[in-house]
């Protein structure tokens, strides 16, 4: 229904005999319409009163203007028009609109539907415009696609863990994750079809160019899609029906085909950002180079990692939803555990993500310094402040979830006293991380500061401070996790005290090292400063890995002082899981806009200009609103998917006993 209404809106009404060009150039049509009285009388009425013999009189009338013949409203004088032109125009009005002037006219045709006619470059989408329509649908499609790609990845890994450890729980969990898959898969496909239809309808010229460049990738894409469908449904419906190894192989096939689809789709959109393999005028020279353009691999890697983080967080939100809805302790225990695993997956994806993003940014700079500047220092840089706030929120929520998770561990109360220091660390880093370089200030305020940079705060706004803050954030979160892991364990090895001391030393020294390099960054050249981030990251990774190794050995034969009471987590922790999922989705929408938006008024950067009325860069506020609406829509769809997935386990319908239906 909606689609029909939209189509009816899009198609223009019937057109009558064309007016001469002169008519369109002058201002006649502002007051006169063919069949309708507007300000002045309609052409039909005029032709009804006058005949061609009156033309000389009417020419003078139009030149002088005036009122009285048709009403009190005066017609403006038109002294600039030539008599001959006026004659021609009035002649057309009188003849084309005379009663019975168009006797045997064919049926009214809808403009632009002539076979073989060249397609227009653009069509417009009603109310919100083509750009926003494509924007929202593409983003929704992408979010679902990300989820559909991510779930098989960790379902496969969890199933593998279950197979190796012979722990049935993992197998059930993997199965539960895939339950979410089949509905989401259909949503992804439907949104993909909607996106293609919209693109073909709204942007015919761009699509014909893109098809010319990438037409040859369509067949493999479709074949992979068929293969993915077969793998997905055999993986899901075939759970427990095959030898575990065969089933795992199906899961692997699902992952490989999904990845292939992602890579092909990425080649299209990265080509639009950083076209390659074409001449300056955009003609294709090398097919493979167009696919393998500068940002293709960085986007592929960035998306795979981000998908894991995003998918984990959505799965965590599903578990939280089921937890809050659970009726029995058993259910609560199960979904508590599922939420914990989902969150764990999300964090594992989140931690390496900045490095992938860094690589992508670097490639964008290398491809076009202009684009890089627009991204990080120019019009789009404010979006990164929003991103920083959202990432800081993520870290807060993740730590909060871990601390609340300690409530389910007997004996973890002894770590509560550390929470305030961890929270202090996270908060200070968050504040630094979210400090903009140039502040939003009124004239008065900026005069007092002596410019857009605050003398004390400005130093927190640059890269050195940010890198330091995020590294310490990661380190602090890791400490929270470590405390959580130790919650119910007491090391029995004789060197436990020494081990603790060494771990503390490693943490302290890597934190000091990171901060030292951060401060050093202010005193060295930009070229050196950029490279300082590598040892910072290395120090954090070293600390995390070495401490993990020490901890594993230290707690090998640890005494278990209490049990983990799954399901005993407070309900407010589940809202933290929701917050994490929503924040992830929001960041994804925001960064998706940044990635596509930095092309600005280009369809294909530097090759094909966007010449439509939508070729402007939206204001940040508008962009943020569109992203937020998209996030809301996504969670609306997700609620439907959660409900549909829940149907598989709900009780069967039975006729009532008294015989009534």
């Amino acid at each position: 229904m909606l689609a029909l209404a939209v189509l009816a809106f899009l198609t223009p009404g019937p057109v009558r005999a064309e007016a001469p060009p002169l008519m369109k150039q002058s201002d006649c049509l502002a007051c006169h319409q063919p069949d309708r009285k507007v300000v002045g009388p309609s052409f039909t009425d005029i032709a009804g009163r006058y005949g061609t013999a009156d033309i000389p009189k009417l020419v003078q009338k139009v030149k002088q203007g005036g009122a009285g013949n048709w009403g009190a409203l005066a017609m403006s004088p038109h002294p600039d028009l030539k008599d001959a032109d006026l004659g021609a125009m009035i002649g057309w009005i009188l003849t084309a609109h005379a009663p019975g002037a168009n006797p045997a006219k064919g049926p009214d045709v809808i403009a632009g539907t002539k076979p073989g006619q060249e397609a227009p470059a653009y069509r417009n989408f009603p109310v919100i415009g083509s750009r926003v329509a494509i924007w929202i649908v593409a983003q929704l499609h992408l979010m679902f696609a990300a989820f559909v790609l991510a779930v098989p990845m960790f379902a496969f890994i969890i199933e593998l863990i279950g197979y190796r450890t012979k722990d049935e729980r993992y197998d059930h969990l993997a199965h539960e994750f895939t339950k979410l898959l089949s509905t989401s898969f259909s949503f992804t496909a439907s949104l993909g079809v909607l996106l293609s239809f919209l693109l073909i309808f709204l942007y015919p010229k761009l699509m014909s160019y893109m098809t010319a460049i990438f037409g040859w990738t369509f067949l493999p894409y479709v074949l992979l899609f068929f293969a993915e469908t077969v793998f997905l449904y055999s993986y899901y419906y075939g759970w427990g029906k095959f030898h575990p190894k065969v089933h795992l192989l199906l899961g692997l096939g699902l992952n490989i085909t999904g990845m292939g689809i992602l890579f092909i789709a990425d080649s299209w959109l990265t080509f639009m950002n950083s076209p390659n393999g074409v001449t300056e005028s955009g003609e294709l020279v090398n097919r493979w180079a167009a696919v393998h353009n500068f940002t293709w691999m960085p986007i592929n890697v960035h998306r795979i990692i981000a998908n894991i983080a995003f998918g984990g967080s959505i799965a965590g939100a599903y578990a939280a939803f089921k937890f809050l809805d659970a009726k029995t302790d058993e259910e609560r225990a199960h979904y508590d555990w599922m939420g914990y695993i989902g969150n764990f997956i999300a964090i594992s994806g989140l931690l390496p993500l900045p490095f992938a993003g860094y690589w992508l940014g670097k490639e964008i700079y290398a491809y076009s310094q202009n684009m890089g500047m627009t991204l990080m220092g120019g019009a789009f840089s404010w979006l990164f402040i929003i991103q920083a706030v959202l990432i800081g929120t993520l870290f807060l929520a993740v730590n909060y979830y871990l601390w609340l998770g300690m409530e389910r561990i007997e004996g973890a109360e002894r770590f509560r006293k550390f929470i305030k220091y961890l929270l202090g660390g996270v908060t200070v880093c968050f504040l630094v991380w979210a400090t903009p370089h140039s502040l939003v200030a009124t004239v008065e305020e900026s005069r007092k500061m002596g410019g857009a940079h605050h003398p004390a705060l400005g130093v927190l706004g640059v890269m050195s401070a940010k890198n330091t803050a995020v590294n310490i954030l990661i380190l602090t979160t890791y400490v929270s996790f470590l405390l959580y892991r130790r919650g119910n364990k007491k090391a029995t090895v004789p060197w436990a005290k020494t081990g603790d001391r060494i771990e503390f030393l490693i943490f302290a020294s890597s934190a000091i090292f990171v901060i030292f390099l951060g401060v050093l960054g202010y005193f060295v050249e930009a070229k050196v400063r950029i490279r300082l981030s590598v040892p910072q990251v290395a120090a954090v990774l070293f600390a995390m890995i070495s401490v993990t190794v020490i901890d594993i050995f230290m707690f090998r034969k640890a005494e278990i002082t209490g049990e983990i009471r799954w399901g005993k987590i407070p309900r407010r922790a589940q809202y933290a899981l929701f917050l994490i999922a929503i924040t992830f989705t929001w960041i994804m929408g925001l960064m998706g806009y940044v990635r596509a938006g930095i092309r600005q008024h280009w369809h294909v950067y530097g090759v094909m200009r966007d010449e439509s009325i939508n070729a402007f860069t939206p204001t940040l506020g508008f962009a943020a609103k569109v992203v937020s609406v998209t996030v809301l829509l996504f969670f609306g769809f997700l609620a439907i998917i959660f409900w549909l997935t829940g149907l598989t386990t709900s009780a069967d319908w039975k006729p009532r006993k008294d015989g009534q239906a």
Binding site: Q369, N370, G377, V426, T442, M449, G451, H453, E525
Partner: protein, 270 residues
């Protein structure tokens, strides 16, 4: 830092510790302390946008602290209940019923009586330069161009000093009126300008930019700013009408020499 505010505040917080306050009072004290520090403790004062951002983060953090374990949460619940129900808190309760509306009313009064100001704007500090500009008919590649006199710094000290001196003369003839005697963006005319003239003494302005970027900004001024972050309100003139190519490079040398900053080096072309 404004020590007249910060020191008493820290002392008050330390003093409060000895009174062993309930968790609720403690959170409120921290919240108030953070706000007072941000609003009055830092000099020059922070813009209200950043205070809002920081306080939002701090409020969230304090809320998480109060609910991060079961004991604290129940303590908060208990003190809230006591505050609302117990007789001994009645004066406080009534007091807050009076004080909070008064504070809100005062804030409304303050907002209504304050002078109208232009809305705060986020400023794009480093707009993306075009890859190439046309300077008096000559094409200059902004991404690759370098200061032709910079190499004299190591080779010919006297000639280099000559160029810096030339730049000094140009600066005091043309630039000083807005950018100021100390290049802090506070020249005589700066008080009439919004946005303020750039502050070159700030370590995050010219020290983070390549000399070719400065050349573009000086040559093309406010009118040459890119469309992407429009509308711009910069009053910087396009100096290509007045200054020659060498004169602009000279004045750039002087900017760095006077502030003691080093320009960002050109990245190696790949």
């Amino acid at each position: 830092m404004n020590f007249w505010v910060v020191v008493p505040m820290v002392l008050a917080l330390i003093g409060l510790r000895f009174l062993k306050p309930g968790i609720l009072l403690w959170l409120a004290a921290w919240w108030g302390g953070c706000f007072i520090f941000l609003r009055f403790g830092i000099l020059p004062p922070l813009p209200s946008s950043i205070i809002g951002l920081f306080m939002a983060i701090l409020t969230a953090a304090l809320a998480l602290y109060g609910t991060a374990d079961a004991d604290k949460l129940s303590a908060i619940g208990k003190s809230l209940r006591a505050f609302l129900m117990e007789r001994r808190f009645a004066p406080w309760l009534w007091g807050s019923l009076v004080v909070i509306p008064l504070l809100v009313g005062f804030n409304a009064y303050r907002q209504a009586t304050s002078e109208a100001v232009a809305p705060a704007t986020g400023r794009t500090i480093h707009p993306a330069p075009p890859s190439e500009i046309t300077f008096r008919g000559k094409k200059i590649d902004i991404l690759k161009a370098s200061n032709p006199f910079r190499e004299l710094e190591g080779k010919d000290k006297a000639a280099f000093a000559g160029h810096v001196a030339g730049g000094r003369a140009i600066y005091y003839k043309n630039c000083v009126f807005c950018h100021g005697d100390n290049m802090e963006g506070d020249g005589l005319y700066s008080h009439g300008l919004d946005p303020q003239p750039a502050n070159f003494a700030d370590p995050t302005t010219i020290a983070m930019l390549q000399e070719s970027y400065l050349f573009w900004r000086i040559a093309k001024g406010g009118p040459g700013l890119p469309e992407e972050s429009a509308p711009w309100a910069s009053a910087m003139p396009a100096w290509e009408a007045t200054l020659g190519e060498d004169e602009i490079w000279d004045v750039i040398l002087f900017l760095y020499s006077f502030t003691g900053r080093k320009p960002r080096a050109q990245e190696r072309a790949e």
